[in-house]
């Protein structure tokens, strides 16, 4: 495979597509598949066959089209019409009316000029919903592997790292560590053997960004990893993906096979002396394996437990060798930066948080689904313009970012720009991109309890604060939520949350109390309202029984809870 061969392949595929009369794209991501997009596909194919159109019109499964709540989604390539809730009958009608008679099926047509579509800026998701997720030819026709070709044949590893550094790309896994800096550290580490690892162990409740990218554009990740491998001097890559994503695993396996067959992975890539292989490692379902040191142990076939850092994996990683670990979305940004230059990327977003961020919108919001927006966009725009606001008759209460490690952002902070620094100022984090919207029906103590239950269950049990502390935090939350808690319990809860945050070994424990602390910060009254009201203190020997009323009983409550004694 040479660069010329790659161009030739791209042209061949573009020609093939041009000769078709039309292409019907259906969403083949996990969300739409689960609501029946395969049946829709079969119905469309059958309808095409009945009209002898199956040679002229191609039906293909793409990655996530975004509006997951309205699936299955179908798109007509020629005029860009998108249909929602396409069941078998609607699929047949689309072929009949739209393709044959040129009449759009009004009832299911989505208005693509609405902010959900027009306010987004797609870099990571640029191919999702546009190309066949299982075809390497279509990826190449869309410019795929061009960045790898350029990097391997024209650039020095140091220049690649410099380009990534200048772009300002930061780790999309949540912590936001500068990617170029990390690559530079691994490059400089002295070792015969280095590794590049992709963290696809996306485990936050309500988050499905990485899954969508892997299902919709798997080659983008392979290309990004190969570029990273070239830059840091690694010849072996691992994708650590959770077993709960069978479709993504299937597509990745296929993609690796396709890339190997074309010589885009393996030995002597683009006839250079650069070799790079990628293998999959399937996670066994532990949330903590998303923590990098636990993830590395798990790849080595050992128990997924974190270890203290330093040393960081960039110095001591897989089998003791320097190892680069990046998130799926981080790798997905690599090829566009190489193709279009770091200056272009740095121009998007804010100066400190460049580029775009993919969010998975879930919860009490009209447009549930996958979106990509430039960094620094106000939270209000994401929720009310793109997301369409909360369902009718309810009021926005809080947005939860960062999953069990993040915090709740209340209505008064809706104008907060969404970037790494701003979210930290209100006690939340960017996280990997899960965004759960809560309306006035949500009980914040229950929200905190839900996340603590999650952390308690997912704690690996290595360090004492996380292993035992989360159990007691959950117990205290449970007591309070059942109306049995006292002010002492609340004080104990806060003290324990701070202690678990300060002393836990890894990120899971250190951030486990964030949902409690942030709901306490913004919705403290919901906790205090639930506290059990102590009996009014009535002095046993009262000089005047008539005056022991509730109105002036200062001795009873020392100024605490003075309003609750009715």
């Amino acid at each position: 495979m040479t660069t010329e061969d790659l161009h030739e392949l791209a042209e061949k595929e573009t020609d093939r597509q041009r000769q078709l009369r039309d292409r019907i794209l259906y969403c083949a991501a996990a969300g739409c598949v689960s609501c029946g997009s395969h049946a829709t596909r079969d119905a469309i194919k059958k309808a095409l066959k009945e009209r002898n159109l199956e040679k002229e019109v191609e039906v293909l499964g793409t990655g996530c089209m975004g509006l997951c709540g309205e699936g299955p989604l179908v798109k007509i390539s020629s005029d860009g019409s998108v249909y929602e809730r396409v069941d078998e009958e609607t699929g047949r009608r689309i072929v009949e009316e739209h393709l044959c008679e040129g009449r759009k099926v009004g009832a299911h047509l989505i208005d693509t000029s609405q902010p959900f579509f027009s306010s987004q800026q797609k870099i990571v998701l640029e191919h999702c919903g546009k190309i066949n997720a299982e075809s390497i030819d279509e990826y190449i026709a869309a410019g795929g592997y061009g960045a790898l070709a350029r990097v391997v044949t024209e650039m020095q590893p140091q220049d690649v790292i410099e380009e990534i550094r200048k772009s300002g790309l930061r780790g999309r896994g949540g912590a936001g560590y500068p990617t170029g800096l990390k690559w530079g550290i691994v490059r400089k580490a002295k070792s015969e053997q280095k590794y590049a690892v992709c963290n696809a162990d996306e485990g936050d409740p309500g988050a499905f960004m990485d899954r969508s990218v892997l299902e919709g554009d798997p080659h983008r990740i392979l290309e990004g990893m190969a570029i990273a491998g070239y830059a840091v001097g690694a010849n072996q890559g691992y994708i650590y993906i959770r077993a709960e994503y069978p479709l993504a695993i299937e597509r990745l396996k296929l993609a690796i096979k396709q890339a190997e067959r074309l010589g885009l992975l393996g030995n002597r890539i683009f006839e250079s002396d650069f070799n790079f292989r990628i293998d999959l490692r399937i996670g066994a379902g532990a949330f903590v394996c998303g923590e990098e040191t636990a993830l590395l142990r798990s790849i080595q076939g050992r128990r997924g437990r974190p270890r203290p850092r330093p040393p960081y994996p960039s110095e001591v990683g897989l089998w003791g060798m320097p190892t680069l670990i990046n998130n799926v979305e981080t790798y997905a940004n690599v090829a566009p930066i190489i193709n279009r230059g770091s200056a272009w990327f740095a121009g998007i977003g804010t100066p400190k948080s460049t580029g775009t961020k993919v969010f998975a919108l879930a919860g009490a919001i009209r447009n549930t689904g996958l979106i990509e927006v430039p960094m620094g966009i106000p939270l209000r725009n994401i929720i009310f313009d793109i997301g369409g606001g909360t369902p009718e008759g309810t009021e926005f209460k809080a947005a939860q970012t960062g999953g069990p490690s993040g915090g709740c952002i209340p209505a008064e902070h809706l104008d907060l720009p969404v970037d790494y620094e701003s979210l930290a100022t209100v006690g939340s984090i960017m996280g990997s991109g899960g965004l759960i919207v809560m309306d006035s029906t949500s009980n914040m103590v229950e929200v905190a309890k839900y996340f603590m239950d999650f952390c308690m269950d997912e704690s690996c049990g290595k360090c004492i604060p996380c292993r035992v502390g989360t159990v007691h935090i959950y117990g205290l939350l449970d007591t309070i939520s059942r109306g049995k808690g006292t002010t002492d319990d609340l004080a104990l809860l806060e003290e324990l949350c701070v202690m678990v945050k300060e002393t836990s070994l890894c990120g899971l424990g250190q951030s486990a109390s964030n949902p409690v602390l942030s709901t306490l910060k913004f919705f403290r009254h919901e906790y205090t309202d639930l506290l059990s009201k102590p009996e009014s203190f009535v002095p046993s020997v009262s000089p005047d029984p008539a005056s022991a009323g509730p109105a002036d009983g200062p001795a009873a409550n020392d100024g605490h809870d003075s309003t609750t004694h009715a």
């Binding site: 050992r302 203290p308 004492i464 604060p465 989360t470 202690m499 070994l505």
Partner: protein, 243 residues
Amino acid sequence: MAILTLTIDGEQLSANDDETLLEIARQHDIAIPTLCHLEGLSDVGSCRLCLVEIEGSQKLFPACTTRAQEGMVVRTKTERLQRNRRMIIELLASEGNHQCAVCVVNNHCELQNLAYEVGLTHTRYPYLYPKKRLDASHPDFIIDRNRCVLCTRCVRVCHEVEGAHVWDIAQRGIHCEIISDMDQPWGTSPSCTSCGKCVLVCPTGALIAKGENVAEMEKKTDFLKYIVTARVKREWINTDGEE
């Protein structure tokens, strides 16, 4: 190797740059409580008792795995640290079924000593009263998981020093427990050499010798130092050997 100077609790000290804060502090009689650490075994930083403050950072650092740096200013006994240490012991006390009065190592127990040290008189959290298994199938020893604090010293000594790797951890979170081989009775373990090292390094009464009565057993961990010193070349020891 470079020599450097640092300050611990206001005292200026010299150290080698490959030494941990805990090693330096102990050389100079600065007491830092520990539970999972044991000289001669690899450090895992899991008990969080040895956390210290380092000037310039809001974070706390485990003294057992943090290496000294030139000019470091370390504090080991601030109010915040003491409060956290007391709460860690408090959590441990509520987690297991620790009944000192009927324990074989009563008065010789590291957990008990730590509780005295941090001034723990009672726990404010409800006791979890877990149902834990006791295994007396081994001819010489007993493992009573009710008294286990999951420090993994037994796991490490068996793997790193004895080379048998009988012990490991099963389950996760609050359900974690020490198991022998494929979670089978200790007495049936084909890999156990009955060397007894795990019993000696166990800080509590979780691993005990048969035939000892209440408050009779004293554990000695000095042997480790001799074994480890006796090994001139240590390269083959897998120090990343926990679990």
